[in-house]
């Protein structure tokens, strides 16, 4: 009985559902108890009802935002990975381009969103570019550090075997760098959601960021909260997809982390 309870308690999903339910109930009761108006803070039931009633509208805007996120993210994956490879392999690029890119990071990218609108217009382009700009750097940096931190002995091994450039890249260096790359991807996918929303705040006529802005300016509390809820789910879903792909593509990467956790649990 005791161990069964422990297993139940240790299940991350179960604890998450439990804590969210408790929070939701407390929230619902607080709103009723202090009779807070809906435009200020709607209760969870009102939010759920709103999501159900405005499903079509929310769905359309969600698709727009997801499209911006995915396009920007995929673009950043391709560019970040390729540029990371070039920088890791070329000492000249490492000294010049890399330093330059690092320096540009001190510009707060969100601040140039209005400029992007001026340059690229009102459509999807400025949003995609903003997502791209936010995602690109973590991917590129992690690709570079992954390729550069490959075990010396593995590189010597490639050389002793007489592997050419491409073989040593495909068979040793790139797979060895994959766990690093996925660290970058996980950071980036979270940034991607932020990038899309912020640029929709600045100028848009559709998307979740746009609905958020409009509904809150019209004091439509339940709708605003519905959008926030959906955004949270979109963020979690995208992050989970990246984590799942990591498990699928480089299952060896996480073993160390899991082993470490097991060991520390045993020791404590």
């Amino acid at each position: 009985m005791n161990s069964y309870w422990k297993k139940f308690y240790n299940n991350e999903f179960v604890t998450m559902v439990l804590s969210f339910s408790v929070a939701a109930i407390a929230w619902e009761m607080a709103v009723g108890l202090f009779s807070i108006p809906q435009w200020l803070l709607p209760p969870p039931t009102a939010i759920v009802t709103e999501i159900y009633q405005s499903a079509g509208y929310l769905w359309q805007n969600t698709l727009v935002t997801i499209e911006e996120i995915l396009l920007g993210f995929v673009l950043a994956c391709v560019a970040g990975t390729l540029l990371g490879i070039v920088i890791a392999y070329s000492p000249v690029m490492g000294k010049t381009l890399y330093k330059f890119l690092v320096a540009t990071q001190s510009v707060p990218k969100v601040a140039i969103t209005p400029l992007l609108v001026v340059w690229l217009g009102l459509g999807m382009a400025p949003k995609i570019i903003m997502v791209f700009l936010l995602c690109f750097f973590p991917i590129m940096v992690n690709m570079v550090s992954g390729l550069q931190s490959v075990n010396r002995e593995l590189l010597d091994l490639a050389e002793v075997m007489g592997a050419d450039w491409l073989q040593s890249f495909l068979k040793i260096r790139f797979p060895a760098a994959l766990p690093h790359l996925f660290n970058g991807l996980r950071v980036s996918i979270s940034l991607a959601v932020i990038g899309a929303i912020i640029s929709e705040f600045v100028c848009a006529d559709q998307g979740l960021g746009y609905s958020l802005l409009v509904s809150s300016s019209q004091l439509k509390g339940p709708l605003t909260f519905s959008v926030v809820t959906i955004l949270a789910f979109v963020g979690i879903a995208l992050f989970s997809i990246v984590a799942w792909m990591e498990k699928l593509i480089c299952p060896w990467a996480k073993t160390t982390a899991a082993e470490d956790r097991n060991n520390s649990e045993k020791n404590s």
Binding site: E159, G162, K171, L178, W252, T255
Partner: protein
């Protein structure tokens, strides 16, 4: 006996910074006979790894030359080489079998034949039940055995081993040493084996190369007169002890 490998007046200087040089190897002259088992002992930092890296072609000597069967070392000689590193250096995304097959893939050999040979080698080192496992599921000693198989798969004329058993406990270490000698007696490779362990050096070798502290030179080469095949009995043989003592003194004197 023919000379397979000769190092002639090898010097190696590292340039870690523009205003700094480290002379790793003073002047090394060494002739290695075909099918000989050579062990190299010396204090830490005396350039043992550097010697192996020079022979494997990963590094170029600052002075002197390396000849393989009388021909200066060139890239095509990599076909003759197998190397075992101090760490197993296995690829965690490949199974045990695929790790062993890596050199054959790189060299574009007939994979069907290679696979059969890999399975045979893994059986020889007692890993037939682990062929499709992930290296992470293996103990350190087992991983090191896999890396030995990987070095042996291309049937190298010259086998370079850089303290391959350093991280193993005494029992596993002795077992693997025995295994290595067994394989060597069948395959008849030429082996250069670096170690910190005097007992191991004597037990394995035909000749033990004893080095001085940096800059590394050859202090002396000690012949081991013990017969083959070697067994644990030889560990208590008087000539074993006298060899070990000689080496001990050579190292001890140099440390002063």
């Amino acid at each position: 006996m023919t000379t397979l490998l000769s190092l002639e007046g090898i010097k190696k200087t590292y340039w870690p910074a523009s205003n700094q040089t480290i002379t790793a190897l003073g002047k090394i002259d060494l002739e290695v006979q075909d099918r000989e088992f050579i062990t190299i002992v010396g204090p830490s930092g005396c350039g043992k790894t550097t010697i192996l890296k020079l022979i494997s072609g990963v590094l170029k000597p600052t002075k002197g030359r390396i000849l393989v069967e009388g021909i200066p070392l060139q890239n095509s000689h990599r076909q003759l080489l197998g190397m075992v590193f101090q760490q197993p250096a296995l690829l965690p995304w490949r199974t045990v079998l695929d790790n062993v097959l890596l050199p054959c893939e790189v060299k574009g050999q007939d994979m069907h034949k290679a696979r059969a040979l890999a399975e045979e080698l893994l059986g020889l080192v007692g890993l037939n039940n682990f062929i499709n496992r992930n290296p992470r599921e293996l103990s350190y000693g087992m991983q090191q055995r896999v890396s030995i198989c990987r070095a042996l798969i291309s049937d190298p004329r010259i086998l370079l081993m850089d303290e391959p058993f350093a991280a193993l406990d005494a029992i596993t270490r002795f077992e693997i040493s025995r295994l290595l000698l067994e394989i060597w007696s069948v395959k008849k490779n030429t082996v250069l084996f670096v170690t910190h362990n005097i007992q191991e050096a004597v037990f394995l070798a035909d000749r033990v190369v004893v080095m001085t502290p940096r800059p590394g030179r050859i202090a002396s080469i000690v012949d081991v007169p013990l017969p083959r095949p070697r067994t644990e009995k030889h560990l208590y043989d008087p000539s074993f002890s006298s060899c070990a003592e000689t080496i001990h003194q050579l190292l001890g004197l140099n440390a002063l």
